[in-house]
């Protein structure tokens, strides 16, 4: 208790010393670039659902898929973003994004356990659609490097959300909850698919 109190006093003093408003040396657009990139993946529910579903499926498949899939997705998504930036056409982009939520959600719901390489290819295939869509939407006027970093980090953190929730799969009640979450993602994906086709 005594230690805790002493540490609290030290923490208060340190926080007071923390120069929260010191923005020295910051180039124009850098803060906007990072935050804009960080927020971009969460601006569309279809993207969010698919990325969370990647984490959920990884957790269902367990090691090594639990980390291989979330590592593969951002890298391949960035490759898709590169294609989008270069103007390489990708037909059926919105359909591909909606399908990703349907397929990944259904995989979680049905607890599909394909070989790791098959799961990786499925995830990578859909990642290209997500990346391509983002690549076409990247805004001008911000720090490209910080935007890219924020964008990739947000994607990875969405996977982490899926993984954290998916870890409940180890318990029987949690397993049903994770499957239900997968079903919810698939249903939402069907809605987005209907909207994309209509």
């Amino acid at each position: 208790m005594k230690h805790w109190q002493e540490h609290s006093a030290l923490l208060v003093a340190l926080l007071l010393l923390g120069p929260a408003s010191a923005l020295a040396h910051q180039d124009t657009g850098q803060a906007a670039g990072f935050v804009t990139g960080l927020l971009h993946p969460v601006s569309g529910l279809d993207h969010v659902l698919a990325m969370v579903a990647v984490g959920l499926w990884g957790a269902v498949l367990e090691a090594p898929a639990i980390w291989v899939l979330p590592v593969a997705f951002p890298v391949v998504m960035a490759f898709g973003g590169l294609l989008g930036l270069l103007g390489v056409p990708l037909p059926g982009g919105e359909i591909g994004i909606a399908l990703s939520a349907v397929v990944l959600g259904a995989a979680v719901l049905a607890e599909l356990r394909p070989p790791l390489w098959v799961a990786t290819i499925i995830v990578a295939f859909f990642a290209i659609f997500h990346g391509h869509a983002h690549g076409r939407e990247l805004p001008d006027g911000t720090s490209a490097q910080l935007y890219s970093l924020g964008f990739v980090m947000a994607t990875g953190l969405l996977h982490a959300v899926g993984i954290m929730f998916g870890l409940a799969h180890r318990w029987s009640a949690g397993r049903q909850a994770v499957r239900a979450a997968g079903g919810g993602v698939a249903l939402a994906g069907l809605f987005f698919l209907w909207r994309a086709v209509a």
């Binding site: 002493e6 030290l10 007071l16 910051q26 850098q30 890298v75 960035a78």
Partner: protein, 198 residues
């Protein structure tokens, strides 16, 4: 409890007595050194390559980390010196992006690069980024003291980070390192797209 309150009051009183700060130590002439340190922190490509190489060196073991801790700052300093002397050599954003992208990819893949390979990569990246630093900082009025700050920051970050990674236990902590590498590689891929269209 009274002692703790007394300490908090003392801490607050200490903070309230605001002595002149002399930001960047203008009066001592040592401010450029700190500008150099800050330069690494606010230049995304520099920070990413240092982090990626430190992670890679740590992954490859103590000997590789020792090589990188000295090879990277020294190469950076040499590159900076050359860049300050011949600034025309240093317009190479694609190369600086490639260095952190490749290093990040190697971390993500946990690539079994030999110790000398890590050193060679550190030297190559250090020279390239140092060239750009020297070419951009010197015309802005920065002296070799600023370059010293840059190199010191790089040495500290590389030493601390690679040592931490060397000491990581197997399992999740090492996977987190690979995930960080994949994010850096993905940011590099997106950055290449930006550079291609700008």
């Amino acid at each position: 409890m009274r002692r703790v309150v007394g300490r908090i009051v003392l801490a607050l009183a200490g903070v309230a007595v605001a002595l002149p700060v002399n930001a960047h130590l203008v009066e001592t002439g040592f401010g450029e050194f700190y500008d150099g340190i800050a330069h690494v922190a606010v230049t995304p490509s520099d920070l990413l390559v240092v982090v990626a190489l430190a992670l890679l060196a740590g992954q490859r073991g103590i000997v590789a980390a020792r090589y990188a801790v000295f090879a990277l700052p020294i190469a950076w300093f040499v590159g900076g010196f050359i860049g300050a002397r011949w600034p025309a050599l240093a317009a190479m954003p694609l190369l600086t992006t490639l260095t952190f992208g490749v290093a990040g990819a190697l971390v993500a893949l946990n690539f079994k690069l030999r110790q000398l390979g890590v050193a060679a990569l550190a030297i190559g990246a250090g020279v390239v980024h140092g060239l750009v630093n020297g070419a951009t900082m010197a015309p802005a009025g920065a002296s070799s003291l600023a370059l010293g700050g840059v190199v010191s920051a790089i040495f500290c970050v590389t030493a601390i980070l690679s040592a931490e990674v060397c000491a990581l236990p197997k399992g999740w902590p090492q996977i987190v390192v690979r995930v960080a590498g994949s994010w850096i590689a993905a940011a590099g891929l997106l950055m290449i797209g930006w550079l291609s269209v700008s």
